[in-house]
Amino acid sequence: MKIKKTADCDVLVIGAGMAGCIAAARASSLGMKTIQAGNSSSFFFASGLFDLLGVFPVETGKIVDRPCSAIAQLQSEQRDHPYSKTTVDQIKEGFEFLASFLDSASLPYSLPGTDNRHILTSLGTFKPTYMVPQTVSKGCNLEEKNILIVDFKGLRGFSAKQVAAGLATKNRQTQVLSIEVPENLGNLNPVHLATAFEKKEFIQHLADKLLKFSGKADIVGLPAVCGIHNSLEITESLEKKTGMDVFEIPGMPPSIPGLRLKNAFEKKLSGLGTLFLSNAKIIFHAMEKDHFILRAVNDNFETRIKAQGVILATGRFPGGGLFARRDIILETVFDLPVFQPETREMWHQLNFLDPKGHLINQAGLETDEMFRPLDKAGKPAFENLYAAGSIIAHNDWTRLKCGAGVACISAYTAVNSFYKRHL
């Protein structure tokens, strides 16, 4: 027997990924009564880095250094891309909001001016990205520095030698150190190791090992597992103990910087009064005058929600926002028309690594300037329904490296538009 409840709100955010959380953050910061439903575990797959535009044009694979001018070019060439529905200034405003929100959630991020940063990854490559956690921010512009890369024996997915080998291809000589995790202080799953970093004994043990390299190295790269709740304090205390700069190197999932984001959003949103319905599946019931009536169902309860506005941030296939049948791709909550390749044969190119990307990755919802999904006639399907994040069509974010930027600007703009129009 499920417990039945009812709840009223100004905004219902469906989805708890990047776009959903930013939308909930913006809505509750504006003082709107917000309910969020979804599963925020996808943050474990997020590197914790916020991309704006990393590669453009996608066919040439050109790495972008100055995203603002690249966006201007993209806006003129791809009228359908989500960035083309907004302006560079608005995008910057969105990022500023996000940075200040995370700052207030005790997860400080470093927001650059106009240029992309090239951050060292666990593969030894440099990833073009935009806004990064402060603990990661020293992982760029490493020329002229004596680098020490540290790994932990048994921690899978991160090898100091691998990073060094990557750096060697760029003619950078790097020192490596492999540390054994003392028994009783932690084990070698990333989350558990990150918990161990929060123990003073562990930090001391680590600092003692690092001190042997003092004089030989001036900056230390660690896998991004330096604590879950106070990573900046931890890296700073290591810097103090060793006299060397310390930075984190993001890598394979489960990603601790992603977990930190998840925790920061959840904690701050709950503090702002956002009701979070964890793992609830949303079913659209009907419109009652201007209000949406929806049901949120999970194993234990069923909540009837009355919402003035809805932000659809359900993602694409992994998030469950889109569902691919053999013959057609469907939108799962409102059954909205989905932009998609005409036939299944056209989903993919013959070459998996085709630089043009696959057409299926352009699938999603067509929207207007305010990111309201359109119906078949090209009019907004609902007055107050907005889409945010990867569910928006014409957005091959994995290739353009613009996922976080699109999530941020669509969520930010959608909530702002709803706020201006109706409250």
Binding site: N187, N189, H192, P253
Partner: protein, 545 residues
């Protein structure tokens, strides 16, 4: 004869008390638990529980009321009525048993006990029928019936005495100089009308004679005989009996009923140490000391949780009156409803412990059910909190957990822990029906759709507190369990440490990005493992026989 019987009864009762109290002194073979630290003496609880049964009051108001009626009524009757030679006669100058307020109070107290006993019986008839898993213990029933018979015979005695002509004549002879010539008939007339005595002659009532009788009554009788209406119960028994009065008087029914009442009372005295009545002594003792309190079970950050070990004077276990409150509040009652192992419930466990104490032996099968039932205990302290007898139940369950109750008996958890996965799969081969029992499980582990979406991302393993606490003794991690299922190795999975160590905290399920019901699957696997392990163990007991 009555005197001799009294002395014999007192001696028997005293010997019985001494014999029963041996449990408090003898060194117990099963629970030699050395006293660790100091238990707390609960003086306040001791006093309140002894005098007012405060714990019973907290557990159930109606039950307390019934109990208090019996207890208060009986104590009054014992002190002021049964022992009146040494109490009432010495304490009150005007005391005579048929004088108010004593006559009225005796009836009132009798009514209390009567009502209480009927309440007990009523509850046993209906409450026990509702909870079919509980047996009526004849011991308790015997005690109630005994009390009931003592009280009923008392009322009957008073009723018979009220209408007795021989008693009337004896009294007249003893306390007055009235005879036929000086108005005995007048007094008879007055007493027939006012005191309901039944005479074996027809008396001609005139107002004159009645008045004369009243004067005689005032002169000789009234000091010791209050109006009979204050004996409101006995009088209402007398009235319908009056028709048989002549017959009863002729055969001196008063003597017979007196003997019955007297010997029933002595029987009660003798039974005191051997019946449920013994709880009068045991409950104060049990209420006095408590070694494991709720606070002990939730140790502070500086305390070593391993140090917390209960100690119990096992004799206090005998204070259990089988009231069943403990089982009603048991947190793992749902386990019982599924597994039907009665020894999950505290009232059944304590009954088995009693048997163990008395006979120092349990059948391996009973031992097994007790061991595994006790293994389900979550140490929530609910039973110890509610126990009206104040028994330190939580300490008892803790002790039971530490020692196997019968030789060669283990709970399924330790049984499986000792086996390698290879041995386990060898043992369970041929037990396939048990490993996917259709009726008792959610059927997730047999359904590929429930775990097929697993992408082996290791998030479940990363957030699992069991994995974090002790990675070495855990053979498989949650995502590996999912992989075992995908490989069709369900039998193997039911024996893994991960499945048996799982806390069912649901963190994995909450975090799984693929929405897989990991914790539910773990529980199902463990339940399946339980079924198989139980079958194997029971088979082993049969073989051993």
């Amino acid at each position: 004869m009555f005197q001799t019987a009294l002395y014999i009864a007192i001696s028997l009762s005293l010997i019985g008390l001494l014999y029963q109290s041996r449990f408090f002194f003898k060194e117990n073979r099963r629970f030699p638990g050395k006293k660790r630290g100091h238990g707390t003496w609960q003086i306040k609880l001791f006093l309140l529980n002894t005098l007012f049964q405060i714990k019973l009051f907290k557990a159930g108001r109606l039950r307390w009321l019934i109990h208090f009626l019996v207890a208060s009524g009986f104590v009054y009757l014992l002190i002021f009525h049964a022992l009146d030679d040494v109490t009432s006669f010495n304490w009150f100058q005007s005391y005579q048993s048929p004088v108010d307020p004593f006559q009225f109070l005796r009836n009132l107290a009798g009514l209390f006990v009567l009502a209480g006993c009927l309440g007990f019986l009523f509850r046993r008839m209906f409450f026990f029928a509702l909870l079919k898993q509980r047996k009526i213990h004849l011991k308790g029933l015997f005690t109630i019936l005994l009390i009931l018979m003592v009280i009923v015979s008392g009322f009957l005695l008073e009723a018979v005495k009220i209408m007795s002509e021989p008693v009337f004549l004896e009294m007249v002879e003893e306390y007055s100089d009235i005879d036929e010539t000086t108005g005995l008939e007048d007094l008879k007339i007055y007493w027939e009308r006012q005191y309901h005595v039944v005479f074996n002659e027809t008396l001609l009532i005139t107002e004159e004679k009645f008045g004369a009788g009243k004067q005689l009554n005032e002169k000789f009788c009234i000091e010791c005989h209050s109006p009979v209406k204050s004996a409101f119960i006995s009088r209402s028994i007398t009235l319908p009996l009056k028709k048989t009065g002549i017959f009863l008087n002729r055969h001196r029914a008063d003597h017979l009923v007196y003997a019955v009442h007297y010997f029933l009372s002595l029987l009660m005295l003798v039974c005191l140490p051997f019946s449920r009545l013994f709880h009068i002594f045991l409950i104060p003792v049990a209420s006095l000391e408590k070694n494991l309190t709720k606070e002990h079970l939730y140790p502070g950050p500086d305390q070593d949780p391993d140090q917390i070990q209960g100690y119990i004077n096992t004799a206090t276990v005998l204070a259990c009156t089988n009231c069943g409150f403990c089982s009603n509040v048991c947190s793992v009652m749902p386990n019982f409803l599924i597994t039907k192992n009665i020894h999950i419930l505290p009232h059944a466990k304590i009954a088995a412990v009693k048997q163990l104490l008395h006979h120092a032996h349990l059948e391996p099968e009973t031992g097994y059910w007790l061991q595994s039932g006790n293994g389900d205990c979550t140490f929530c302290h609910n039973c110890a909190d509610i126990c009206p007898s104040g028994i330190d139940l939580q300490s008892l369950w803790g002790l039971l957990n530490q020692k196997p109750v019968a030789d060669g008996v283990e709970n399924n958890h330790t049984f499986i822990e000792k086996l390698s996965l290879k041995q386990w799969t060898d043992l369970t081969s041929g037990k396939e029906p048990l490993l996917s029992a259709q009726n008792t499980t959610t059927q997730l582990a047999d359904n590929g759709a429930s775990f097929g979406n697993c992408i082996q991302c290791t998030i479940c393993t990363n957030v699992c507190p069991v994995v974090e606490y002790d990675i070495d003794s855990n053979d498989y991690t949650p995502q590996q369990i999912m992989n075992l299922l995908r490989l069709g190795k369900k039998h193997l999975a039911t024996g893994t440490r991960m499945v048996w160590n799982c806390l069912t905290c649901y963190t994995c399920q909450e975090y799984c990005p693929q929405g897989i019901k990991i914790a539910d699957i773990m529980i199902e696997l463990r339940n399946n493992g339980h079924l198989a392990a139980t079958a194997i163990q029971l088979e082993n007991f049969k073989k051993a026989e």
